[in-house]
Each structure stands twice: as C-alpha cells, then as structure tokens.
Amino acid sequence: MTSDVSAGSGAGVWSPVRSGPRLLMLHLLSRRIPVALLGFVVCGLALHVSAQLGWIPSSGLVSRLVPLTIEAVAAVLLATSMRSPFGEPEDGTGRRIVYLRGLAIVLTGAAAFGALMAGATGTTLAQGNWAVLRDTAGLTGIALLSAAAFGGSFSWIAPLAYLIVAQQAINAAWTTPWLWPARPAHDRGAALCAALVLAAGIVVVTLRGTREPKSD
C-alpha cells in the first residue's frame, strides 16, 4: 500500500485567503470582543444621554471629566479585551499572531472610536467631537501600554492614574501637551502627543502582546 498523502487534495496547505477571516474571527472571539463591542455601544449611549440630559455642563471641570471618564471606560475595555486567554503558549504559534493582534486592535479601536463619535454627535460637549477623538486615542494608547506593562487585567491602572493627574491639570490650566485633556480641542501639540501614545500602544501590544502574569 502506498501513501496518498502527497497525492492528496492539498488540505494541509494553509491559505490566508480562505483561513484568514476565520482565524481572525476566532481570535476576536477568544478576546471577548463581542462583549467589548457591546461596552463601546453603552459608552457611546452614555456620552450621548448624559450630554442630552444636561448631566455634562457646558463649562468647568465636570464638562471635561465626565466625557473623559466615559472615554477611559472604552479605552480600558479595548485594552482589556486584548488579553490572551492562552498566555505565553500563544506566542509560539507562529508569526501570524502578530498580524492578528494588530488587526484586532485596529478593528476594535475603530469600533470604539465610532461608537464614541456617534455618541458625541448632536451634543454640545465643551470641546466638541475632536476632543473626544483625541482623548479617546490618547487614553487607548495609555491603556494598551499599561496592558503591556502590567497585564491585560491591569490595563486600567495607568488610565486611572492619568485621569487623576489630568484632573489637576485641567483645574490648574497646565499647558503641557502630554496632558492633552487640559488643552483645547484643536491644539496640535496635544493631538500629536495623544497620537504618539496611541501609536506606541498599538505597536507594543501588536508585537509583544499584553503581559500575562503566570499566576493569572
């Protein structure tokens, strides 16, 4: 009897076109992305409803803090969802995991930004939609970097600390662009800093993934 493996139909050959979407879908499901998407929708709704009901005043510290906290929730949901349920062994599965991580961040991030921008549309937030976009981007970057440093479960630590520092910055009208929530919406330096932090977060988590403590 001769083996017919070599004469087979090529079932063992991996095709990115055929398997890619399925692999991406499985990757997203393993990261509980559907729950995160639901969270983004809730964040968008919370932003819209609190602005419409007047819970967010037109000026003052609260006018910035409430949207910032809602944006932080979305950012942290995104970063937490990047946590691998398999831990370190997943890194040994090949190079494709890097692309999967990158795609997951981009797609999930787009959904988060979309939900928050939709929530901000039609409202009179103190600094408008640009500030929502900038602040969400920066906070997402911070959350991703926090996830890379402390683990997906602790991605909230750095954004939380940043929010407390930002509150002081808004109160005292600090001008450093690294504390972008205290800067006007169209401040180029603040936007650049937020974008840089986001880019750093995306690159680090794409390449290295989130840090997962062995005990978790």
Partner: protein, 493 residues
C-alpha cells in the same frame, strides 16, 4: 493503653486557621505592588493640594477627605475586584469549595488582607498630612471625622468591588469596577457641589457641599459630625451587605451560615438605606457644615468662646487667635480706611473678625462702632504657596474695604447714585485699595463704585487727590446730604 486513651492530637482553633489564611493572603497580595503607585498619586494629588491650604485642621481634613478618597478608592476597587474574581478567572471555584474552610471564610480572608494593606497605606498617608499640619503649628485639634469617613470608605469600596469580582469573574469586571468607582465619586461630589440632590451628599468625598471651604471652617463653631455619621453608616451598611452576600450562594457555607449571611445582607442594606435617607434630609448651615435633623445635637450650635487678638492702634483690628498670623495684613488693609472714615457719623472705629457665611450673606456687617468682616473668605486656599502680608493685605482691601465704605457713604438702599459712587471710589483710592484687575485668587466686592472712564470715576479721582484734611472736612459737612442723595456730581470738590 487503649486507642481511646491516646492523647488527642493538638488541634488549633478555627480562628487561628483564619488568621493564618489572612497572613498568607497578605504576603502575596497584589496591593503590595500597587503601593508605590498609590504613594505617587497621594503625593501628587492629595499631599501637594492639602499642604497648599492654610494650616487649619478642619479645612485640611475636608480637603484631604476629597482628594485621598479619589486617589485610593478607584484603585482599590479595581484591585479588590481582581482579587475577588481570582477563583472564577482560574476556574478553581469547585476546587476550593472542597477545602476544609468554608468558601465564604476564604473569600473574606482574601478581602481582609487586601483591605488591611489599603487601610495601612491610608493611615500612613493621613499621618503624613496631619504630621505636616501639626509641624506648621495648626491651631486647635485635628479633625478626625474626615479620617473616619475614609476608614469606612475603603473597606466598603473594596467589599463591593470584591463581591462584584466574585459574582461576575469576567475580564471586564476589574476595569469597570475601578473606573465606575471613579465616575461615581466624581459625579456624586460635583452633583452635591451644585446642589443637584441632597442624597448625593452621601458620597464620601463630601464633607460639605461645595469644593473648598473657607479657612475658618469649624474654627468659630465645632465640627458638625452629622454628615460624616450618615456616610459611615451607609458605607458600613454597603460593605457589610457586599461581604455577607459572598456567604449566600449554595456551597459558600453551612445552611446556618447562609441564613445568617442573608440576614446580614438585609441588615447592611437597611443600614445603608437609612444612612442615605438621613443624608437626604441634610441642610447646609450658615457655618458651612451640614446638619441632619435626626442626628443633630443642639449642643453643637454654639460659637466657641475665644479671647480676640487685637492690634494696639486707635482703630484696632481684632481676629480669632487662630488667625493671629493674618493680623498684620488685616491691620495694613483696614487702618488707612478707618483713618479716612474716622469721626464720620456711623463710621466704624474697630474691625472684628467673624465666621465665614455660606448662605449669601455680605462679607461685612456694620453695627455701631464695630464692623465684622469674614476675613477667611479672602484668604485663598489653593494658591500653591503662602501669600506675603502685602499680598494678603491687598486681598483684604479688595474684599472688605468697598463694602465698608459703601455702608458708611451709601444710603443702604440699593446701588449708590453718581455722587455717592464717586465719593466711594475716591475714598477707596485714598485708602490704597488696588484698582487694577485681580491677579490670582481673590474676592472682589462690587458695591457700585464708579467705573474707570465715567464722569463719576474722574470726580472720585479728583476727590482722592484732595488733601486728607480737606476730604475729611467736606465729608463731615456733607455726609448727611450725600447719603440722602441731595448732592450732585458737579457739587463734589
């Protein structure tokens, strides 16, 4: 020797097991890793902010209560939720259910270890703030109620978050617990500050409605503990309910334990509901503190007796002994004005400090030869540095000199007319009240003095340029007519 006669093996008490469990949990608790971050946040937010305020115990206690809770509670909520979700995350729930200790006890031990570290860190931070305040020779005695609220808040937040983590061990529970704690505290504090609902006073950031009180809060009157008592009650109730809820699921303990825990949940919720309900009846007193009718003691409604500290001039300025260091600045602010007004009918000859009012009262009240000023209202709380006597004096002049002059010159019925406005402006210029815009935190009293560019302002400037004796003589002759509104602008010298 038969088997039954053999000595029983030494058995340790269940309490000893639980104590050892807490020690084990404490040694490997994640809180230890977060203490540097907590220390950093505390230094950046709480310590710097509190030390920027004048050294008065109640003021610093109230400011500390707000900032330290904001730094600690969300972070601890996140940590507690993560710790609480441990068994669920690892899928070891069934495994630990079969261990010798009831699951409820094990979970409570984990919570206790986390909370113990948090409370220890909190107490160290409080000691640093209060130690620094004592080193600055703050008058009076420390305000302990804000500390007690914090001591109730941390276990309550960790218990609630721990229970959330235990019941919903999702990867999203931890971040949501942390950020929601922050949102809850912020919204509750700001809502109470804006008077949205009296029930929001229960949020432990609030020692009183409003952001920062005046420096003399609880200096002239005792610190009212009413709101703090309701907060402690509500927080203890919520914490108790959350912890007891851990003992209610099947397998968490024996049937008796579960029934007891259910009872404790109800008790906790009743306690929390009572606290929240009582806070809703709270009303801010003129002294700034909140009184709750069901808890309020009439004995607390008194002014503390004190021997005032006065300057030795002919127009003395007297302050509360706690404000002794502000006396030179106050004297520099009031002396020139009182000299201008000396001898005029109804003019004050003495300035005394009174408590700040939070019910829209004017900052001064003139009665007989003495004028009472709420001096602390013009002492900035958040300048980030100590003001010099000259700066403080300018602040006092801006805040109090205009209403004093207006009370003497005006008719006491609304805005002054043009001639009155000109004379008020002239006297303020003569007394050296700063005319430029206020740079920094200061209170400006608008009493209708003439505005630059107006004819009345020009007349006021001319009046101020007169020799002091001429000004005084004219006022002595014409004050009655001026008050009655019978002097036209053109009639001013």
């Amino acid at each position: 020797m038969t088997l039954t006669e053999a000595p029983a093996a030494a058995r340790s008490l269940p309490q000893a097991h639980t104590g050892r469990l807490v020690r084990l949990e404490a040694r490997r608790n994640v809180m230890l890793l977060l203490i540097p971050l907590l220390a950093l946040l505390f230094w950046f937010d709480t310590y710097r902010t509190v030390l920027q305020t004048p050294p008065f115990w109640a003021l610093r206690g109230i400011v500390m209560q707000k900032h330290i809770m904001l730094d600690f509670a969300p972070l601890l909520a996140g940590v507690a939720a993560w710790t609480g979700s441990r068994d669920g995350r690892r899928g070891t729930g069934e495994l630990v259910a079969a261990t010798s200790r009831p699951r409820w006890i094990v979970q409570t031990s984990t919570w206790a270890a986390t909370t113990a570290w948090a409370v220890l860190a909190y107490l160290i931070c409080v000691a640093l703030v209060y130690g620094a305040t004592a080193a600055q020779h703050a008058p009076g005695s420390p305000a302990w109620w804000p500390v007690l609220v914090g001591l109730s808040c941390l276990p309550a937040f960790t218990a609630l978050a721990f229970a959330a983590g235990a019941f919903f061990p999702s990867r999203f529970t931890t971040p949501l617990a942390a950020i929601m704690a922050l949102l809850l505290l912020e919204v509750g504090f700001r809502g109470a500050s804006h008077g949205s609902s009296p029930y929001l006073l229960i949020v432990p950031l609030n020692a009183m409605p409003g952001s920062t009180p005046a420096a003399d809060i609880a200096v002239f009157q005792p610190y009212l503990p009413d709101l703090a008592i309701t907060q402690v009650m509500a927080l203890a109730g919520l914490g108790l309910a959350a912890l007891a809820a851990l003992g209610t699921p099947p397998g968490a303990g024996t049937p008796v334990t579960r029934r007891t825990c259910t009872g404790l949940v109800v008790l906790g919720l009743v306690l929390a509901g009572t606290g929240i309900g009582l806070a809703g009846t709270g009303r801010q007193q003129p002294t700034g503190m909140v009184a709750i009718p069901a808890l309020h003691k009439a004995a607390d409604d008194y002014e503390k007796a004190y021997p005032p500290v006065c300057t030795a001039s002919t127009t003395p300025t007297c302050v509360h002994p706690a404000f002794r260091k502000y006396l030179p600045a106050a004297q520099a602010a009031f002396d020139p004005l009182l000299r201008e007004l000396a001898g005029l009918p109804g003019a004050p000859t003495r300035v005394t400090q009174t408590a700040s009012r939070y019910t829209g009262h004017p900052p001064i009240s003139l009665s007989g030869p003495a004028v009472s000023v709420a001096l602390a209202e013009a002492i900035p709380n958040d300048t980030g540095r100590s003001l010099s006597d000259a700066e403080l004096s300018r602040n006092f002049k801006r805040a109090f000199d205009p209403p004093i002059v207006a009370a003497v010159i005006g008719n006491g019925q609304g805005r002054p007319d043009e001639a009155q406005a000109a004379v008020i402006e002239g006297l303020l210029i003569a007394a050296g009240v700063p005319q430029g815009p206020c740079n920094g935190a200061c209170v400006i009293s608008d009493v209708g003095a003439a505005r630059p560019g107006s004819a009345a302002y020009d007349a006021g400037t001319r009046f101020a340029a007169l020799p002091a004796a001429t000004r005084h003589a004219w006022l002595m002759t014409n004050l009655a007519a001026l008050r009655a509104g019978r002097i036209e602008l053109g009639q001013l010298p």
